[in-house]
């Protein structure tokens, strides 16, 4: 089986982003960039499928600036076999990304596509579902467990009420949730080896796909700030304040 893992270069999850004073976006100058943490979990799951003998080949794909090669190399160091960068200096919206990934799927013919359930920059949580729709494939979103069962894929999903397991025909799209696994750190020898793994570069134009944005961001502003309140001395004072001042008890 072949597994395709799309990864996104995003602001590192430890960075507290700042809104630009002119409200055109957030300030990304000199900010640490990393692989989207949910995509890292997806890469790890693909590598585990390969180690378990379920998958033979792992292809990593990213749509983004030239520097997204760093994230592809990281995924290769974790155990991916080869990479594909579709370079774009402009942001591509989820629907455009899904259309590009559809074109990649038609070329690569993967059996499973695993990707993060959401990117931590725009928090939209939709690319995997959109790709599944465009391909007419089933989807297992918010996955906390993935198991091959005969010719089906069993995906356990984190849902509002608890956990749900679905059985999917292959090919299928899986989106990774937090508790699917704990991604490994790439070892130094593997990082060195990853530098020699094949990494193709293509441009969006090579795919003949319309990725024109459908949404325009009119402005980006600071969220309403909450002021820190007061420190109470003890439980008695806390209960008194909640009863008489806040009126919530």
């Amino acid at each position: 089986m072949k597994v395709l893992v799309p990864v996104k270069r995003v602001v590192d999850y430890n960075v507290k982003v700042r809104v630009k004073p002119d409200e055109t976006g957030v300030d990304l100058a000199n900010v640490k960039m990393s692989m989207n943490p949910f995509d890292e979990i997806a890469v790890e799951e693909a590598v585990r499928l390969k180690e378990a003998g379920v998958a033979e080949e792992i292809v990593i794909v990213s749509i983004g600036p030239d520097k997204a090669q760093d994230q592809i190399r990281q995924a290769l160091a974790m155990g991916g076999d080869r990479g594909l960068l579709i370079s774009s200096d402009d942001d591509v919206e989820s629907l455009g990304v899904a259309k590009l990934l559809k074109a990649v799927c038609e070329e690569e013919k993967p059996d499973i596509v695993i990707m993060g359930k959401q990117a931590i920059d725009d928090d939209r949580s939709q690319t995997g579902q959109m790709l599944a729709a465009l391909m007419g494939w089933p989807q297992g979103t918010f996955a906390s467990e993935v198991k091959k069962d005969g010719d089906k894929l069993h995906v356990t999903r984190e849902i509002d009420g608890g956990l749900q397991t679905v059985s999917l025909n292959l090919p299928a799209v899986v989106t990774a949730d937090l508790r699917l696994n704990e991604p490994r750190y790439a070892s130094l020898p593997n990082i060195m080896k990853a530098k020699k793994k094949p990494l193709d570069k293509k441009a969006i134009g090579d795919y003949g796909v319309d990725v024109a944005p459908r949404l325009s961001v009119l402005k980006v502003t600071e969220p309403p700030q909450r002021e820190a309140g007061i420190r109470v001395e003890d439980v008695a004072q806390l209960v008194e304040k909640l009863k008489n001042e806040a009126g919530v008890l």
């Binding site: 602001v11 629907l95 928090d123 579902q129 989807q139 459908r214 009119l218 420190r231 109470v232 806390l238």
Partner: protein
């Protein structure tokens, strides 16, 4: 303008989030219909008909919709989309599963988890774990939107919409429900609770949650929540996680116990009306959003709190 709201429910009860999504639809303005798809859902359809502002309830009852799997749901919804300018659903795990699929089938860029309506084509939504708010305008002729329902007030329940049975859509037959393991609790549901009490890594075990958090929750009639660290450690089930990637809550009172307050956690609770933080680290970021902070050892404070209530 015609708007279709997709109901979130468990085949027995309409979720509060559905009614709040109707409120968001009312801010856009136009005729609002609600689609109830499930199995044995006549009661849910009746509840939906009572939500103030609803014109008509479309009711599709079929075993294929019992678990609201994304493949049959998206095909049903996309099939109904012709008569509507806007299709909306609550941004729970159910809507987040099938709505992007609907959007792609309709060649629309979805607007996810909105917290505000500026006009019929312009919406506000949090990005970067709520550290910034984006105002986005959609150029798509049809809009597909998920709604962060805690940002909208619940409407009244004095409506009397008609209920119209509709036929099922296509069943793609590529996916099947196998099993589910739902968390059982007599406490209020986390997303809609008036009071939430959440515990963090500092609780250190499931037993400590039971010993120090549950008794206070029971006295207050509160729902239980947890930080990601506490869920990752297995102290509480996954559906109790509050935060950017878990549930977003906005209760009247949120009590954070032994939670340091990572930005990802704050994203899930900072719209609560009153926030109480109990933490032994006086530098913990949770205090910067708390109305009332109490510095101290939770293992001493929680029994005192239980006794004082």
């Amino acid at each position: 303008m015609a708007i279709l709201v997709i109901a979130e429910h468990d085949n027995a009860n309409l979720a509060d989030a559905t009614a709040k999504t109707v409120s968001a639809a009312a801010k856009i303005g136009g005729d609002i219909d609600v689609l109830v798809a499930g199995e044995g859902t006549a009661g849910v359809a009746e509840q939906a008909a009572k939500v103030t502002g609803v014109r008509k309830v479309l009711h599709a009852d079929d075993p294929h919709y019992a678990k609201q799997l994304a493949e049959p749901m998206s095909s049903l919804i996309a099939g109904q989309a012709g008569g509507y300018d806007v299709i909306m659903s609550p941004a729970g795990t159910s809507g987040r599963n099938f709505m992007p699929r609907v959007a792609a089938l309709l060649d629309v860029m979805q607007i996810s988890a909105i917290t505000g309506v500026e006009s019929a084509d312009t919406f506000i939504r949090p990005i970067y774990a709520g550290n910034a708010m984006a105002t986005v305008q959609s150029k798509d002729a049809k809009k597909v939107i998920t709604v962060q329902s805690t940002a909208f007030e619940a409407p009244g329940m004095d409506g009397s919409a008609s209920v119209e049975t509709i036929g099922a859509g296509e069943f793609p037959g590529v996916s099947e429900f196998v099993a589910e393991e739902l968390t059982k609790s007599d406490r209020p549901e986390l997303a809609g609770a008036k009071i939430v009490i959440s515990g963090g890594r500092a609780l250190a075990s499931t037993e400590n949650f039971e010993k120090y958090i549950y008794p206070v929750a029971d006295k207050l009639g509160a729902a239980i929540g947890a930080s990601r660290a506490a869920v990752d450690a297995g102290y509480q089930p996954n559906d109790y996680q509050v935060g950017q990637t878990g549930k977003v809550v906005a209760p009247e009172l949120y009590i954070a116990v032994g939670i340091s307050g990572a930005i990802q956690h704050l994203a899930g609770m900072k719209d609560s009306k009153i926030i109480v933080a109990i933490n032994k680290d006086e530098e913990a970021p949770i205090f910067s959003v708390a109305d009332y902070g109490l510095v101290g050892d939770l293992f001493e404070i929680m029994p005192q709190l239980e006794a004082a209530l």
